[in-house]
Symmetry: C2
Subunit: 164 residues, 2 copies
């Protein structure tokens, strides 16, 4: 998306792995959008063949598209992140600290977020094994770092409530 040509499939995977913690997009949203962006003149594609006859569309930014991307990154992002956390919503209906449903709920979430935290740490280790890897994709590293810190906070918060 930045400079190297990518297929819609590549983008879908990036939304799943690289930035899925903070932004999501399914391939059913991506393919029509790529067509729209091409019509708008922000991207172009080149048809390539992998193997015998598997057709791929390698998209790349046009000068106009690149300009727009650079401008967009520099623009202010004044909106605070929108979150939908069903567990937290359910907490609203727990009126007392003694509610017998509370501890199981916390435990369930603790399992979930500990697993996620371990998974993210594992990813950091494999994707950014050394300083060179970090230097080459610093923003991506920051995203993963932020995701890990955020999960760590969530786990700590749950643990502290479980000790009680």
């Amino acid at each position: 998306m930045n400079q190297r040509p990518q297929t819609g499939y590549d983008l879908a995977k990036a939304f799943e792995n690289e930035i899925g913690e903070f932004w999501q997009a399914q391939h059913s949203q991506i393919y029509p959008m790529l067509k729209r962006l091409e019509t708008a003149g922000e991207i172009t594609h080149e048809d390539t063949i992998a193997g015998e006859k598997l057709a791929k569309k390698q998209y790349s930014l046009t000068p106009s598209g690149h300009e727009k991307l650079v401008a967009w990154v520099s623009e202010p992002s004044p909106e605070l992140a929108a979150t939908k956390d069903e567990f937290i919503l359910k907490l609203y209906f727990i009126k007392s600290a003694d509610d017998p449903r509370l501890q199981p709920m916390l435990q369930e979430q603790a399992v979930l977020h500990r697993t996620q935290l371990a998974h993210l740490k594992q990813r950091r280790q494999t994707v950014f094994p050394d300083q060179a890897a970090i230097d080459q994709a610093y923003g991506h590293y920051l995203i993963l770092d932020h995701a890990i810190g955020r999960e760590q906070y969530y786990v700590d918060w749950l643990n502290q409530l479980l000790e009680h």
Copy 2:
């Protein structure tokens, strides 16, 4: 929503203030939903008049609705929270730590999140001034506490990057 009758307006305000950090719903979504829930037999309403002629609909849960709510709270919540943070998405396109756009971006977000953190702390002080207030709405307190911790982490993370 729990036991005391509430109007659609009350609910909209709750989504704005009490749980807006983790779940959102506009009045345009709430009013039709209240009608649907009433048709389904989960809630009923009583027309009341405030002042001279301002019509209010005080909704309350039916036994069936209350049962469903209790069951829903106890159900597992296996999905991890979905987040959409445009700033973090933009970070993805910053390839180097020396990119001149990075520091201004971080500073802008720091202002945003410091303000939000101060606002949330202020709310905790006014909504939960003593232990009695916490004991009466423990879940609500936990939500606010979690929101504060989350913002504190975000601010700390940004500060640490700004020191650099």
